[in-house]
């Protein structure tokens, strides 16, 4: 059984009378443990596809199986539960809660999963250690550098033991050196913990950390190439 299986997914946006296909008949299979980069110019449909993979959005038609379960027809709360348990998000703008300490940001997914306060604290501390932020637990986001903030976000994505990390332009706001560090961290998590990592990027050198690169253009996949890490 494949981890993710998208079958003939179409997403149509309606702008008045005009119907716009953001995605058209996209099919894709992703196995556990893959490290994938989704690439393409703006408006190619890669972000829409990412939102559907992340269960933030539903396709207009087609089937999307996550660990063999069809999620295309789930309601809001069921999708929220899937996101909570199966998917860790990493965003370009970090998307941490301001005025909330690093450890509390990391605890957040467990809050909605119903862990006890003690368990939350322990697991969050462990996740922060994994991303190399030991000792910064009580820093607020505005007291951390961009790279450190993104590490907190990665710790938050890890903490519920989600099998998938979805990263949307994770290095978009970072300098080259920090970008490399973040990509190394994602690569390490992929290798050591067998977490499936899917990143959306338009930077070639970032995509080169991955082992499989999928190119989108005008709502369809134009190429899907696999290689070892360069």
């Amino acid at each position: 059984m494949s981890l993710l299986k998208a079958q003939e997914i179409t997403k149509t946006y309606r702008l008045g009378d005009i119907a716009l296909n953001a995605l058209y008949n996209v099919s894709l299979v992703i196995e556990k443990g893959e490290f994938i980069a989704i690439m393409g110019p703006s408006g190619s449909g890669k972000s829409t596809f990412m939102n559907i993979l992340g269960c933030l959005d539903k396709p207009t038609s087609g089937r999307y199986m996550l660990e063999g379960v069809d999620v295309a027809n789930m309601n809001r709360d069921e999708l929220a539960t899937i996101r909570n348990k199966k998917i860790g998000f990493v965003f370009q703008g970090f998307n941490l809660l301001s005025r909330t300490s690093a450890i509390e940001n990391v605890e957040l997914p467990m809050l909605y999963a119903g862990f006890s306060a003690k368990e939350r604290r322990q697991k969050a501390a462990a996740a922060l250690k994994t991303v190399g932020l030991e000792g910064r637990e009580n820093h607020l986001p505005n007291q951390l550098s961009g790279g450190q903030q993104q590490r907190v976000a990665i710790a938050r994505a890890l903490v519920n033991n989600a099998p998938i990390i979805l990263a949307d332009e994770p290095t978009g706001n970072l300098d080259t050196k920090t970008s490399a560090e973040i990509m190394e961290l994602l690569a390490r998590l992929n290798e050591e913990s067998n977490i499936t990592v899917i990143i959306v990027t338009h930077e070639k050198d970032i995509a080169e950390y991955s082992r499989r690169r999928i190119f989108f253009r005008d709502g369809v996949i134009v190429s899907d190439e696999s290689s070892g890490r360069i």
Partner: protein, 409 residues
Amino acid sequence: MINIPSTVRISFRALRVNKMRSALTMLGIIIGVGAVITMLAVGTGARQRIGEQIASIGSNLIMVVPGSTTAGGVRMGAGTQPTLTLGDAVAIQKECPSVLYVAPVHSGVAQVVYGNQNWSTGITGTTMDMLYVRDWPLSDGRLFTEEEVRRAAKVCLLGQTVVDNLFGGINPVGQIIRIKKIPFTVIGILEAKGQDPGGHDQDDTIYVPVTTAQKQLFGTQFPGMIRTIMVKAKSTEDLAAAERQINELLRQRHHIGQKQDDDFTVRNLTQMMQAAEQSTRVMTLLLGAIASVSLLVGGIGIMNIMLVSVTERTREIGIRMAIGAKTWDIRLQFIIEAIILSMIGGVAGIVIGISGSKILSMLFGWSTIVSPLSIFLAFGFSGLVGIFFGFYPAYKASLLDPIDALRYE
């Protein structure tokens, strides 16, 4: 599963971020709850006071006064026509089955002297039944006897105010005082009763036998004339019947024909007092209702601020949704925030309300009573306001699309 303690903590933090705004929002509820409690306290106090006064003039009371006279086309006030007699009083006692006690009253004002002290006060000539009519016990000494009433003995009972003004620390019982220069022996002291509903000091009085008042103190236009007859009905249910019986009896005794007007007036004091109590009750409700409007306005303030807060925190809502917050996680977070605002406001409002009532009592001498019920009501109501006015913003927040919310700048 929704984690309430953590949600409460998150809400507190969100409220602390905008301290000034939270405080101003609470102010609406504080004023509302404070106003409700104060107004109810004023109303309840007034009602209790009237209740006490009703009890102090005696229960189930009927007063019979003579009618008015007309002198050369000028109509005089009620009680100016000398028509009532001791015989009327005796007849009412005998003939009216719904009547329990009857006390004739012949009264006036006179100067009273004891030693080197003097005092002007109302002298009430009556019989021993008067104290039963008024539910007025003695604190010291004894009542007059039937024999003393018959022979117009010069004995008297003093009200507490008179005692205070004439006797400084001396036990008045057995002392001789002079009323209009006539010596009277003090045989008893009336218990302190306080003000009547009209604000009149009921303790500023002296009771003497009615016959003594007629013959020695104030005189009469004809023998046996009295000014008032006080009647106590057997029960509240008997009041109307007693009133009717007295009316019939007196018309008969005064030979008043079918088409002639009464030469006396029967007043049901208890009914008048109950009417006063009723109007105070209405006033209390009215005050409470007006104050509730301010609570409502406070609630709308909460809704307003929560709506602003939802818009400001759209991105936060998006993040929470993306990492797994369900519809009710989001809703509860905002509802709990609204409840915290209104409950803290409610508690502060209760404090303000209680102190406000105390201040009103001190400044204006109103009796105010903060009942536990009004506190409970105000607190419960403010909680409901939080839930009610917090729900719509919370509902709006929970319906946000996670993708749009995440992109919100």
